[in-house]
Every structure is written in structure tokens, then in C-alpha cells.
């Protein structure tokens, strides 16, 4: 199977993904509550700049501005009938930036959650979820995306639905989850169990991993769990640039470029092959990460203690600290 990641990894050993889309667009004037995806049509030049800045900072992979590009998300902005066009446009903008870059840059089509719960917890059927993702991924592929990059996921069934859609459309896929609740996703998925969620769909994922979540320290703890569970898999980590803080009317993330550089080094030593940033990661941060990875001398696999010492305290419990299934002792249960 066509595996653009593997080809470039063989050359470079480790790949740098890009930084934040949403928070970077804020800096360019996106208003609270506005849909970033609509900017693919109304302000394509700004999306172009966003990608170009990340490429200039050294990104090997750029993610399209299509995170909320399923009909379930776009309907809020009365754009649910423009799913294909908006996603195609998102991919075209990224494609043109990648094609004029002086080196190989991979265009990955960002696919975020629908925001709906699947049956039985919610009203969305698995089939409808697959159809919604398929519609989006068809647009991304038509615009020149090489990979369906399924990200910030919480629910295993939704990951599978998106992966099934990618397989049906004929794009290889990557998936990453947001471990933001006691070391797991909000739906209780643990980092350890992530590789198996859609590990056998189609030809399997090109890579799996973690993105967003809480802070840079917490995501490195999740990364240790994933690389331990699947030492041979290609693992992605795309952590937030510290913690969001509100200054004046804007959100700032607490992470500095040196901190994100150190995060990148630790991520490398923890076994990640694809390293990037999520919310708050600007091109300045990304450039520091590029330099850190280029100059990196491999070190030992970090421990939680090392991570806390160098990046800062964990905000949440790690998955192994939290109880998981071993909950409360029950007296009896009706059968």
C-alpha cells in the first residue's frame, strides 16, 4: 500500500508535524464561534499563510483546515450541504503550499469528531457516522490530501467509523485520540488500548497516537503508555503548548519555544516518530522543535519523573494511576 509516511520516515527517521490550526487562526482574526472551515473559501490566503508558516518552520506534515468538516459540525454554520467543497478546498490550499515547498511535505486531511454520540449512548448510528466521514474524506482526497488524519477522538466506535470511511475512500489513515480525563479519553479509552481500536481496519493505520489532551507533560505520559503497548507501531504525538491562559481578550498558551523543544526531545526518546504541536503551538514553537529534533542526541526512555522535572507537573492522573475497571466493590448485581 501507498505509505507516504514510511517513505519519508525512511529518509528522515523522525517527522515534524505542524502546530495549532484553531488557535493560530484566532491570531489572524477568527472570531469566537466562527467556523474555521469557512475560511477555506472566504480567506484562503490566510489558510495558505498558516500552512506556509509551518512549512517555513520546518514541518514535514501539514494538516488541512478541516477539523470540523463533517456535516454534523458544519450544520451549525448552515454549511452542511457544502461538506465536499469545503474539504476539497481545504486540501487544495495545503496541497499548493506543499507542492511549492523546496522539500517533500505531506498533506494530511484533518478529520475531527462529529460532536455526536453514537448509538446506544447517543442518536448517531455507526453507518451514518461512516457516511458523514466518507463525505468529508472524499472531499479531502479530491483536493489532494494523501492521508486521512483522524484526530482528537474520544470514542473507539467513532475512530472505527472514520477509519472505515478512509478505507472506503481509498486513503491511508492515521488516528490520534485526546487523553484528557484521568489519563484516558473522556469516553474511557486508555492510551494502551488505542493501537487495537482500528488496528485491523483496511491495511491498518499508518500511525496512531495522541493529540491535544491536557498539557505537554500529560500527553508525554500517554505517549509512554502507547509506545509500551505497541513498540513497533509508528506513534504520533501532537501535544498542546502548555495550558491555555486568558490574557485580555485572547487565549495564550503557557508553553515557551524552549519548553516545546524539550517536549520534542522527550517525545523522541519516548519512541514517537511523528512529533508536532496542538492548541497554542505557533510557528515559533515549531521552529524550536525542528531545531531540537535536528540536533537531538538520543537519550534514554524518559520516566514520568523526568517528564515532570523538565516539562512541569501533570494536570491529570495517568491512566495507570486511575482506577479503570477496578471500581467500587459491589454487593450484588441483578442478572
Amino acid at each position: 500500500m501507498n505509505n507516504p509516511l514510511q517513505d519519508l520516515l525512511a529518509k528522515k527517521g523522525v517527522l515534524l508535524a505542524d502546530g495549532a490550526t484553531g488557535t493560530s487562526l484566532f491570531a489572524m482574526g477568527l472570531e469566537a464561534g466562527e467556523a474555521p472551515e469557512l475560511w477555506n473559501e472566504s480567506h484562503p490566503e490566510r489558510i495558505d499563510t498558516l500552512h506556509q508558516d509551518f512549512v517555513d518552520a520546518g514541518a514535514d506534515i501539514i494538516l488541512t483546515n478541516s477539523f470540523g468538516g463533517t456535516r454534523h459540525r458544519l450544520k451549525l454554520h448552515h454549511a452542511e450541504d457544502r461538506v465536499f467543497a469545503l474539504n476539497k478546498r481545504a486540501a487544495e490550499i495545503a496541497r499548493s503550499v506543499a507542492d511549492r515547498a523546496p522539500r517533500r511535505v505531506i498533506v494530511a486531511g484533518s478529520v475531527g469528531p462529529t460532536g455526536e454520540l453514537l448509538i446506544p449512548l447517543g442518536a448517531l448510528s455507526y453507518e451514518d457516522a461512516v457516511a458523514a466521514f466518507r463525505e468529508q474524506i472524499e472531499g479531502l482526497k479530491a483536493g489532494g490530501a494523501e492521508i486521512a488524519w483522524i484526530e482528537t477522538m474520544s470514542a473507539a466506535d467513532e475512530i472505527r467509523a472514520a477509519a472505515e470511511a478512509a478505507v472506503a475512500v481509498g486513503l491511508p489513515f492515521v488516528y490520534t485520540a485526546s487523553f484528557d480525563t484521568a489519563g484516558r479519553t473522556m469516553m474511557g479509552l486508555s492510551p494502551r488500548d488505542l493501537p487495537d481500536v482500528a488496528g485491523a481496519m483496511g491495511d491498518g493505520p499508518l500511525a496512531v497516537g495522541a493529540n491535544c489532551g491536557v498539557g505537554a507533560s500529560d500527553i508525554l505520559a500517554s505517549l509512554l503508555d502507547i509506545t509500551e503497548a505497541a513498540p513497533n507501531a509508528t506513534i504520533v504525538v501532537k501535544g498542546n503548548c502548555g495550558i491555555p491562559e486568558f490574557r485580555g481578550a485572547e487565549i495564550h498558551y503557557s508553553g515557551t519555544p524552549p519548553l516545546m523543544a524539550d517536549y520534542a526531545r522527550l517525545a523522541r526518546d519516548a519512541g514517537a516518530k511523528i512529533i508536532g504541536g496542538c492548541c497554542g503551538t505557533s510557528c515559533g514553537h515549531l521552529a524550536a522543535m525542528r531545531a531540537a529534533l535536528d540536533e537531538h542526541t538520543p537519550g534514554p526512555r524518559p520516566t514520568i519523573e523526568t517528564i515532570v522535572e523538565r516539562i512541569g507537573p501533570l494536570r491529570n492522573k495517568t491512566a495507570s494511576e486511575a482506577g479503570g475497571e477496578t471500581g467500587r466493590e459491589r454487593r450484588r448485581r441483578k442478572t
Binding site: 484566532f26 484521568a182 491555555p244 491529570n316 486511575a322 477496578t326 471500581g327 454487593r331 441483578k334
Partner: protein, 232 residues
């Protein structure tokens, strides 16, 4: 696990209440409905069924949710079971003039369609005995203002899941300030990308990291409010 089928109607009051706590924990809706009817038939007041069986059961669920033992899927099932019991009790509570903890208006902010966390907070607040008015998703500031005027709640709750929508909470709070009504309400905010510092910076009374914390925080604020009224 037990091989013996438990017959709810054969349990003593105490055992039945314990069993309801277990059944809420396991999200068993029909069992909760049945047990609610049994307690009412035995002459329990609706208020006692609410507080001793449902609220207490959901309190236990809340603790394990807070501690990372239960996650959203389990808590949603528990909350659904609780709601089934509440549906039976609600008209009876009104009839009997049972005391109320307080009222909350809650909604996800403009531009944001996420309602899982918000729904959980609403359900857990109901489970704790609050009246909850849910404005749904994608609420511009006008929706909040209308609801505050109409419902006269004690608490305003706002939710956002996206970094692109969380700043809108400040728009709402600033508007309340402009209108001079900010201090008439306890404003609580929540959502995955938020944190304590953010809550403070935008002028909310509290950031609540999950539904269980939201319930505890709301109770604490209502208690303080009552103390203030008593002192004033």
C-alpha cells in the same frame, strides 16, 4: 455478580435503597423505575425517594467519575436511569411542595455544538436535586439573557469544548456586567480546554472540571448564598 435473581419488592427498605444505589451505578433504568414505585407504594415521600435513593446514588457515581473510575459512557447510563426515576417523582415533588436546592440555566456557547459534557452536568445537577433549564447548543448571548430573565435561576452554567469557542464565555459575562446583573447569578463554566485560571480571567465564579465537581461547587455556592441572606 449473583446467580440469584433479586426480587426488588422482597427487599427491606434499607436493602432496596442500597440496591438502587447499585442499580444507578450500573445504569439499570427499569430497575430504578420499579424500585421508585415500590418505595412510593410503601409510603415514602417523593422527597425522601429523591434524596435518599436517587441523589445519594448519583453522589456515589459522581465520586467515581471524579476519581477516573467511571467515564462518560457509564455516567450517561447512570444519569439516564436517574432521569427515569425523576420522571416519576417530578410531578409528585411539585404536588407535595418539596424543598428545592436551586435552579440552573445551562447552555453551550455560540459556535459550539458539543453537548455531551453539558448534558452530563445538567443530569447530575438534576440528580442532586436542582431544577435545570437546558438551552442546548450554540447559544448567542441573547439566549442566555432571555433565559435569565424568564427563569430567574440562581446559577448560569456555560460550556465550550473548543479553543475557538471558549472565549465567547467572556462575551456573555461582559454583557451581564454591562447590564449590571452579573452579581445576580452564580456563573459556572466548564469544558475540556478550560481551566481554573481561565475561569478566573473571564470573571466566572467557578470553573468546574467535571459534572461531579459542578454539583459540589453549585451546592457550596448555594449554601454560601443562603448564609449571606441569613446574615444580611
Amino acid at each position: 455478580m449473583s446467580d440469584d435473581e433479586i426480587i426488588l419488592s422482597e427487599l427491606s427498605d434499607e436493602e432496596l435503597v442500597q440496591q438502587m444505589h447499585d442499580d444507578l451505578y450500573d445504569g439499570l433504568k427499569e430497575e430504578i423505575e420499579e424500585a421508585t414505585h415500590i418505595l412510593l407504594d410503601r409510603g415514602w415521600t417523593p422527597y425522601d425517594v429523591l434524596t435518599k435513593a436517587l441523589v445519594e446514588g448519583m453522589r456515589i457515581v459522581g465520586i467515581d467519575f471524579r476519581d477516573g473510575i467511571l467515564f462518560v459512557p457509564e455516567v450517561l447510563l447512570s444519569a439516564n436511569a436517574m432521569k427515569a426515576g425523576m420522571t416519576i417523582l417530578r410531578p409528585l415533588l411539585v404536588e407535595t411542595g418539596a424543598p428545592k436546592l436551586g435552579k440552573m440555566v445551562i447552555g453551550t456557547v455560540k459556535g459550539d455544538i458539543h453537548d455531551i459534557g453539558k448534558n452530563l452536568v445538567g443530569m447530575m445537577m438534576e440528580g442532586a436535586g436542582f431544577d435545570v433549564v437546558d438551552l442546548g447548543i450554540n447559544n448567542p448571548v441573547e439566549n442566555y439573557l432571555d433565559a435569565l430573565e424568564r427563569e430567574k435561576p440562581d446559577i448560569l452554567g456555560m460550556s465550550a469544548l473548543l479553543t475557538t469557542t471558549m472565549p465567547y464565555m467572556k462575551v456573555v459575562i461582559d454583557t451581564l456586567k454591562e447590564k449590571g446583573i452579573r452579581d445576580d447569578y452564580i456563573v459556572m463554566v466548564g469544558g475540556a480546554p478550560l481551566n481554573e485560571e481561565f475561569g478566573k480571567a473571564i470573571g466566572a465564579d467557578a470553573y468546574c472540571r467535571d459534572a461531579a465537581v459542578a454539583v459540589e461547587t453549585a451546592k457550596e455556592f448555594i449554601r454560601r448564598k443562603h448564609n449571606q441572606l441569613a446574615a444580611g
